[in-house]
């Protein structure tokens, strides 16, 4: 398996590895994939509930180098975006950035799923209280 330079770089120097406490205000957690399929990603965002901006993101991934790189890249891209902007990240953006071969496209799909799951979890837990101001976040 030939890996692109960017995949190798993320594998050797993964960005934002770690975890937030799930109950910290503004933290949304996504856990996707399955051990028997060989890929599990946990992706977390910590959102400023006042501004809707993702101030920090962390991941942990069980999977191949491309899966590690996809989730590492996702955390880099999430930081500084608003929740609405984050929802626009597509798996094809990850494929292009990391030059993933066809056999590894599912890694990028899983990363997009992880982003969506973290955003959903954030909204369910924390955005309810901010429902009045939520519409203006974009």
């Amino acid at each position: 398996m030939a890996y692109s330079e960017k995949v190798v770089d993320h594998y050797n120097n993964p960005r934002n590895v770690g975890s937030f406490g799930k109950d910290i205000p503004g933290v949304g957690t996504g856990l996707v994939g399955a051990p028997e399929c060989g890929d599990v990603m946990k992706l977390q965002i910590r959102v400023n509930v006042e501004t809707g901006v993702i101030e920090d993101a962390k991941f942990k991934t069980f999977g191949c180098g491309s899966a590690i790189a996809s989730s590492s890249l996702a955390t880099e891209w999430l930081k500084g975006r608003t929740v609405d902007e984050a929802a626009k990240i597509k798996n094809t953006d990850i494929v292009n950035e990391l030059k993933l071969p066809p056999v590894k496209i599912h890694c990028s799909v899983l990363a997009e799923d992880a982003i969506k799951a973290a955003l959903t979890d954030y909204k369910e837990k924390w955005a309810k209280a901010e429902a009045g101001t939520d519409a203006g976040a974009s």
Binding site: M1, Y3, V8, Y11, P14, V17, S19, L31, V32, G33, A34, P35, E36, C37, G38, D39, V40, M41, K42, F59, K60, T61, F62, G63, C64, G65, A67, I68, V103, H106, V109, L110, D113, A117
Partner: protein
């Protein structure tokens, strides 16, 4: 040949002991005695085989599946046929020794393998959950 088999199985046992004594939840695949002298297959719980290879492949030639399936993502069918569950089959690494393998090489491979597995476990959500006492089988996984 008998001397060479003896030499190889000695090195293989040295590699096996060096790894299993330093990594918890690492499991020998296959029969502990009735097996080829130059072959060692170990599953490392909570880390995926290909990611272990990627950490070693600058220095060591290894495989996670058989040579005939290295272009696919399926776990080794040989390991699956031995009755190893899908999670651990995805975590298996096959070490092969040969005529020119040395004790120094075996010690080097063992040390590098231990390092890589530990590094990957630090970034494994499964390892984190297991250390928190969560039974991974009780989680409803959202597969693609």
């Amino acid at each position: 040949m008998p001397e060479e088999s003896k030499r190889l199985s000695g090195l293989r046992d040295r590699l096996q002991d060096a790894i299993l004594s330093r990594v918890d939840e690492a499991f020998l695949n296959g029969h502990p005695e009735r097996r080829l002298p130059h072959n060692l297959n170990i599953s490392f719980a909570y880390v995926e085989g290909e990611s272990v290879l990627m950490g070693l492949n600058k220095e060591v030639a290894l495989a996670s599946g058989s040579a005939c399936t290295s272009s696919t993502l399926e776990p080794s069918y040989v390991i699956s046929a031995l009755g190893v569950n899908a999670e651990l089959a995805h975590s298996s690494i096959r070490f092969g020794l040969h005529r020119f393998s040395t004790q120094e090489e075996v010690d080097f491979v063992a040390a590098r393998t231990v390092d890589v597995v530990q590094r990957l476990r630090e970034m494994s959500p499964l390892y984190e959950l297991a250390k928190e006492g969560v039974d991974l089988k009780t989680i409803k996984w959202k597969a693609e």
